[in-house]
Amino acid sequence: MALDQSFVGRTYPATDPYEVGREKIREFAEAVGDANPVYRDPEAAKALGHSDVIAPPTFVFAITFKAAGQVIQDPQLGLDYDRVVHGDQKFAYTRPVRAGDRLSVTSTIESIKSLAGNDVLSVRGEVHDESGEHVVTAHTMLVARAAEEA
């Protein structure tokens, strides 16, 4: 069943701040096998002009995707969560995420489409730090595959 178009433009309340830790960044960098010292060594990060270690570009997805969960699991929207796959992902950065950041995400439904029976949902997540400065915008496109005929 096609999703309700009236949800387009709906914005969800900002999430509670997520505090970015040095060790969490290190853990993520290790998981993707990236040895760049700017992710682990504050001195290496400072040499590049950063105030502390920064996170790899896709690190922030863990925070924005959790925030998008508000949308995906909104019972009023009625998306079939079990059939959702990730269609595409884009990030637009004002600055890198860094250790010590306290980040909040505000999610907005940008579009809802129906393509060949699949529901296609685009969610924008605006990420701000504690001082209200914009850090990154994440555009996440999710596809809920059409249910098979019973």
């Binding site: 290790e30 863990a62 992902q89």
Partner: protein, 143 residues
Amino acid sequence: MTARISYDEVAVGTELPAQSFPVTRATLVQYAGASGDFNPIHWNEKFAKEVGLPDVIAHGMFTMAEAIRVVTDWAGDPASVVEYGVRFTKPVVVPNDDQGAVIEVSAKVAAKDDEARTVRVDLVAKSDGQKVLGMSRATVRLA
């Protein structure tokens, strides 16, 4: 936020050093923990097959994270990436053997913006001969 590469040094068509990234089941378990994405399609073969996949598949976000390393290793400072987007076109299938899978990433400069001093880098990511990311591009601010 200093990129190592100077804007004036690169031309449209400049190729970035290509890289290959191995991925095994152990890699996926580690990434699941680090990213918080514990979807069983990324570690449970029985579950993956039940939902119609050929085998366990890598997280799309894992592939996206590997692909951009070609750009961040080249540019020097990862903060030089001002925009990055991909489309997930085909899953990276990760068999439970000693080899796992390999993600092969190549990239080249596709456009330059003199005003912003940024370049658009187009990426190609393949696994097992198949393109696994589509429309994969990054905008990078150079020195």
